[in-house]
Amino acid sequence: MPEAETTELRVMPPRLPSWLSRAVAPLPLAPLQPALALMLARIGRAHPELYDRLGEHAEKRFGIDPTDLPFAFVLEPRPARPLARAVRTLPGGLDASIHGPLAGLIGMAEGTLDGDALFFSRVLRVEGDVAASLALRNAIDDARIDFGKLLLGSFGPLGARLADAVRERMRALPVAGGSSWN
């Protein structure tokens, strides 16, 4: 029989250290683009069911904004010609954008953190088409993608450094607050 749970569930993801953000800021984004394209193609091949869940929202343009990194990502999951690219700032005209610390976005994508709980705690912010954002969140949650490995492991020494920083901080997650109403 399992022991009675007595510990708080943890939902507060850490932020990357500011020195890391400053260190990667001057780096060119061009080398990231082929790795992102490769990563997206792998995901599409390995998880075709993801497009079923996205439905009409697969044709939309999403902005993914890790708020503790000096760059963001534009994602167009359309099955015929998926596209992902790194940008310094998110462009206008996106259908939806999701903003939060990198560890929160990865934790949510990997299913270790709950998106609604991140929203309740104000860690995560959504702008634009909320239905499209929900569809993307639910599709990715169901696909069980190892994003940490895919996203960070694909970018060589820089990715390895980021992965180490995220994992180190995740080990010492703070607990979100809470109160009883009655």
């Binding site: 299913g111 705690s121 639910n138 607050g177």
Partner: protein, 325 residues
């Protein structure tokens, strides 16, 4: 007591099974179930596979077809009932009299549960469902305190199931039209409360404002925990003050009530949250499985800290302990 756990996707179903669910409830990817959200729910094939997975682990699957059939489109609800029965569902969770009647006639061997959406809150209503359709279990609406539940369980013609964690409605189960006023869609008819397609968030200087169908629902200051953009949990402003009229953004957490609910004769405990991610489902189900294990072994129940998972990061025992009476 059985632990009944939510699943919005096949991955969530597996997470619930692995975390210790006795049964998992889920629905089809259409308006026949009350969590008809983008990217959520099961295809016919996914349900079959999900049921096979659950059964391999000794876990039941209950299929919620618990919206009210739209006039002229009853075929959609009939097809859902037929598909769930064919897939080997352990029970169907129904609310509409027409769906209950169809399921009882067409699939007489199929176990039927009365959804919370039916709002069956007294022994006479429950007896009607049991005698008319052979319903074996009723999910009680979240309007009853523990003494009332005990009274119903004693007199009830079938098993009782109660919610113990997750989102709360304003105690008008199956009859709430607030979402319809703002969007034209309701959980009762369309399976979706405050549809995401009608929701917008705007952020300015750390303050986030949520709107539904163009109506401002709430505005949360910097760092203030947020809630769902539903009218029932809207913060209403008058020239003199602002505040919550119907309900505050909080979630139900009845973990402390489990000993009393067991004493009351409740058969099953339900966790709300088919719209939530795998992390919520695994964490909450594992926590309640731990509490039930402690109860079974006569150990002192230590309630888990689940407020971080709750709407508004705050919890309530709801109507189970009615302090306002």
């Amino acid at each position: 007591m059985e632990l009944i756990c939510p699943a919005g996707t096949p991955a969530s179903l597996e997470a619930a099974v692995e975390a210790g669910a006795d049964a998992v409830y889920c629905g089809f990817r259409d308006e026949t179930n009350a969590r008809n959200f983008p990217g959520l729910n099961f295809s016919r094939e996914e349900l079959k596979k999900g049921i096979a997975f659950a059964h391999r682990h000794g876990v039941k699957v209950l299929v919620a077809i618990n919206t009210f059939a739209r006039a002229g489109s009853f075929g959609l609800w009939q097809a859902a009932i037929d598909a769930a029965a064919a897939a080997g569902a352990d029970a169907l969770i129904l609310a509409d009299l027409a769906t209950l009647d169809y399921a009882a006639r067409r699939h007489p061997a199929q176990r039927l549960h009365v959804s919370v959406q039916a709002g069956a809150a007294n022994p006479d209503a429950i007896r009607f469902y049991a005698e008319s359709f052979g319903a074996r279990r009723v999910v009680l609406p979240r309007v009853l305190n523990v003494m009332e539940i005990a009274s119903i369980a004693r007199e009830s013609a079938c098993e009782t199931e109660v919610f113990v964690f997750g989102g709360l409605c304003v105690m008008e189960e199956g009859r709430c039209s607030l979402s319809s006023y703002a969007t034209g869609q309701s959980p009762n008819m369309n399976g979706v409360c405050s549809p995401a397609s009608h929701v917008a968030y705007a952020e300015r200087d750390g303050r986030i404002t949520s709107t539904l169908g163009g109506f401002t629902i709430n505005s949360f200051g910097k760092g203030e925990p947020a809630g769902y953009p539903t009218l029932c949990k809207g913060r209403f402003a008058s020239p003199k003050s602002s505040g919550y009229l119907f309900e505050e953004p909080v979630s139900l957490d009845a973990a402390v009530m489990l000993p009393a609910l067991r004493e009351a004769g409740v058969t099953a405990l339900k966790i709300e949250g088919r719209q939530r991610g795998r992390a919520y489902i695994a964490g909450v189900v594992r926590s309640f499985r731990g509490i039930l294990a402690a109860l079974d072994e006569g150990r002192q129940v230590q309630t888990p800290g689940l407020a971080a998972m709750a709407e508004g990061q705050a919890s309530t025992v709801g109507a189970y302990r009615k302090g306002w009476r």
